[in-house]
Structure formats: C-alpha cells, structure tokens
C-alpha cells in the first residue's frame, strides 16, 4: 500500500500512544497527530488500581513517556481535545472545538468507558468508578477517610481495589450478581482461590445479589450503602462500581462504520473503511485463540500494544495479519494472577501445582485443545503457556496436570503437521 502522509490517531491511551511510537520505530516519516480528550501526557491504567492507589507510584510514574519523547519523535500531541465527527468523504476529523484535522490514515484507539450503575442513587456523592488518572486521584483521596466500602461487581478492577482498601483497614463488602468472583473470565478453581485469598484479608463477599439502589441522600447527598434486590442493605461511605465497560464506538457508528459491541475490524485490524483502523479496547477483531476464532473485544495492555504495533507495521509497508497470543495480569493483594490465551469458555480444566500453597496454574482446554492458562505465583508456567499457545503445541490435560511432565521441552516443539 502507499504510505500515507498523515496518520491521525484518536485516543491517547495505551493503544494510541503505542501506534504513534511504533510508527517512528518503523521509520515512518510522515506526520503523526494524536488527539485525546484527557489532559496531559499519555499514561498507563494498570497502576491506577494498584501502585498508584497505594501511594507507591505518583502521577509522573504512570506516564508512558516524558514530554521530550513526543518532541524528539515529532509526535504532535493534542491533549484535552475531543473528536466530534469523522468526515470519511473529506478524510478529516472534526474536533469539538470545530477545528478539522485531515488524515490519510485514521487510527481509532478510543478505548472504553465504565458502565454506569443503572439504579436510583447512583449519582450520589461517594459513588465512584475507576478508569482515568483523575478518577484514581479522587479515589486515593477519598480512601484516606473511608471506613466502610461497598464494591459493586467482583471483576478485576473491583477486586484490585478491594485488596488495596482492605489492606488499609477499610471494611470491604463486594456485591456480585454471579456466584463467584471474576466468573466471566476465570475457571472455578482459580476463582475459588481468589475468593479465599480476599476473605482471609477480611473482604466480605455477597454473591447472587444485584444492587437495586444506592442508599443515602439525606446526609447532604452522600452515599451510605447499597440495597440489593432481596432487600438486604450493606453499609459503605464509598461505593466503587466495577461492572464492566462499554466500548467508545459511537464516533465510528455515526460515520457508518460496522459496529457490534466494538468497532468491527478484520484480521489486519482495518475497519469497513480501509483508510481507518481500530485497535485496543474499542475494537472487535477475529482471534484464533478465542472460541470459534472470535471475533472478540479484549481489554488488556497486551492487546492494545500488540494491535498498535500491527497497524504501525502495516502503515510502514509491512502488512501481516494480527495474531499475538493474548496475555493479562491482575495484582490482588499478595497474589499475582497471570492469564495466557483465552481460557474462557472451556470444557475441561486441570490444576498443576499446589493451590493450598498458593502457587498453581489452571490449564483450560476447549474441544481437546489448550485454550488458556491461569497462573498464580507460577510465573514459569505462564511464560511457557504463552509459548505453547504461540507454537500451537499439543498438550493433553493429563500431561498438564503431571508435575513430572516437561512443559519446557513441549513448549519448544511446534505441533506436528
């Protein structure tokens, strides 16, 4: 393909930053313009629910790169500007300010936003979410005076927050509609391990319960807890809502691009308009590691970064389909969860290691093949799992469960044709 003169990137999160940085690594010498509606330099989100929240990292430490990096690489960063409309026919994007920016290629790296809690009282002071550095700043301040917290949703972010809060001595109640934590993503065995680990730190779980109302309002509009559908009430001066995200796909939909819970892209990460790519949390892509080969929308740093690299390489003239092995991590208290592949859904799961000792992996299989591996405190299993999946190596559940089986040797052997 012809190399475009100007690449315009919408969204300055993990994916948007990476596509810009990778374009320069690929020796792309056209203009690179980055437009993002958040103020300041691009930053990483994972520490917001971890080191930043505990105070171990400050705002500077979460920045991806300093000012100097953008100047040296001629990356034109337009922070604090919102894109309002894509004019495909005119190959330009109109900003909320009215200014129009031309493009030869447009990369949508718009991310996702947190799903709002659709119940009365959700607007009360003390009901908070965690997505941006601004959210995290506010939450860190509130935590200083919080004694009781309710977490709505036992997903990754809610539980990372719960672990941080419990360690500070906050009484934490996690209310979850499913019957176990991280049910959408994790195997039963790994989910049970994390339930136990959190409970030992004093976190209380309420499963099978849905929040119908946030209590409060008399004391100056402040939240005082939540009420569940069965009429139970759980007190909390802080209510953290972590019930999933909605992809920022409206801009694409309004421009007539294909959208279905995310901006639909092909294996090259092109949208239905070849002059527009979409990557990261906002994109739905075909994925050979997913059940039925996808398409899926993945919310992870790995996905954002690897998709960004794939698009940058294509724009620099090296086209290849996207096919990176998905991986993910989540730090919850002393336990570091690592996931390789797409473990959910699976029809068989075997344990390798010692769950009671807090160091084990769950190897998940789907239709006879390895689908994904969840590890806690078994980093070597995780690294080998990534290799096994990348090589498409054969592995039987019995072998995975056998502590004497040499995973390392198998990981190095591609599947026989």
């Amino acid at each position: 393909m012809n190399r475009p003169g100007t690449v315009l990137v919408l969204g300055t999160g993990q994916a948007g930053f990476q596509v810009a940085a990778s374009l320069r690594e690929e020796k792309f010498d056209g203009r690179v313009v980055l437009v993002g509606d958040e103020p300041g330099l691009p930053y990483q989100r994972p520490p917001l629910s971890k080191a930043y929240l505990t105070g171990k990292a400050d705002a500077d430490a979460v920045r991806l790169r300093p000012d100097r990096f953008f100047a040296e690489h001629r990356l034109e960063l337009r922070a604090g500007e919102r894109a309002a409309r894509i004019d495909r026919a005119g190959r330009r994007v109109v900003l909320a300010s009215g200014e129009a920016l031309p493009y030869d290629h447009l990369v949508l790296a718009l991310g996702a936003r947190n799903r709002a809690l659709p119940v009365p009282g959700a607007e009360l002071d003390g009901v908070v979410q965690l997505r941006t550095l601004g959210d995290a700043e506010g939450l860190r301040r509130r935590l200083e005076t919080t004694r009781e917290a309710v977490v709505v949703g036992a997903g990754f972010i809610g539980l990372e927050f719960a672990a941080v809060a419990a360690a500070r001595g906050v009484a934490v109640t996690v209310v979850e509609a499913a019957d176990r934590p991280m049910a959408r993503s994790l195997s039963v065995a790994m989910s049970a391990f994390f339930r136990g680990a959190h409970e030992r730190q004093g976190v209380r779980f309420v499963f099978g319960a849905s929040v119908v109302r946030v209590l409060g309002g008399d004391g100056g509009g402040r939240a005082t807890g939540v009420e569940t559908a069965d009429g139970r009430r759980f007190p909390g001066d802080l209510v953290l809502v972590g019930i999933g995200v909605v992809p920022n796909a409206e801009l694409a939909a309004d421009a007539g691009l294909a959208v279905a819970d995310g901006i639909v892209v092909d294996e090259r990460l092109e949208t239905s308009d070849p002059a527009i790519s979409a990557i990261g949390d906002c994109a739905r892509h075909p994925c050979r590691f997913a059940a039925g080969a996808g398409p899926v929308r993945i919310e992870s740093v790995q996905n954002a970064v690897d998709q960004a690299r794939c698009v940058a390489a294509r724009l620099a003239g090296r086209t290849a389909p996207y096919g990176a092995v998905p991986w993910f991590w989540s730090d919850q208290g002393a336990s570091k969860l690592q996931i390789a592949g797409m473990a959910a859904p699976h029809d068989r799961a075997v344990v390798r290691g010692d769950p009671a000792g807090g160091a084990f992996s769950v190897f998940c299989f789907r239709e006879g093949g390895l689908a994904g591996v969840e590890s806690v405190n078994r980093p070597l299993d995780h690294v080998l799992a990534r290799k096994l999946l990348a090589n498409g190596a054969d592995l039987a559940p019995e072998q995975a469960a056998d502590p004497g089986f040499d995973l390392k040797a198998r990981a190095g052997t591609p599947r026989a044709a």
């Binding site: 430490a61 920045r63 300093p66 980093p379």
Partner: protein, 107 residues
C-alpha cells in the same frame, strides 16, 4: 543520584541520573531513552525492557528471580549470560557508573 550509562546498539552513549530505589527501566523511560519499551510497566510480564549489563558489573545487581529467568528466554534479541530485565534492577548507590547496553530490538 547514581549515574547510569546507556549504550545504544550503534555505540551512542547517554548518561542518566536515576534515583536510588527506582528501577533502571523506570528511570530510562521517564527520561525518554529509546530502546527500552517496557510495555507491561515493570510487572515482569513482557521482556521488552531487556538489557545487557557490562559483564564486570553483573555482581552489583540483585539476584535474578525465577520469573525474570523464564521471561529472558523469550526476549526479541538473543539472550546472553549478561542479559537482565531492566525493570527488575532497582538502582543502589553502588551502581554509579553502571553500563547498560541496549539490544537491537525489544519486540
């Protein structure tokens, strides 16, 4: 603050002051050094902060964890006896003058 010397594959040298307790990766990315990607932000998950330490100075470094050892088998540039992940090296006063060679590629 100890001075750390970064040597690019083409031989170009850059010297940075990195605060004690900060990792070599953090210090390098925060000051905009090219050649360290660090996509996982120092979580010992990605191996894109791979560096070669001047062999005579290896003893100044903290011992390698099993995790780091495993990840080093998956680096984009070849693993050598002096390979380390720079996010796992917290700077100490004794590291003043540490020479960190950057690999050809991180991805």
């Amino acid at each position: 603050m100890p001075n750390i010397v970064f040597v690019h594959p083409d031989g170009a040298r850059e010297e940075l002051e990195i605060a004690e307790g900060t990792s070599v990766m953090q210090g390098a990315t925060a000051q905009g050094i090219d050649g360290i990607v660090a996509e996982c932000g120092g979580n010992c998950m990605c191996a894109t902060c791979h560096v070669y330490i001047e062999p005579s100075q290896l003893a100044l470094l903290p011992a390698m964890s099993e995790e780091e050892d495993a990840l080093l088998d998956g680096t984009a540039s070849e693993r050598r006896p002096n390979s380390r992940l720079s996010c796992q090296i917290a700077v100490t006063p004794a590291m003043g003058g540490l020479v960190v060679n950057l690999p050809e590629r991180q991805v």
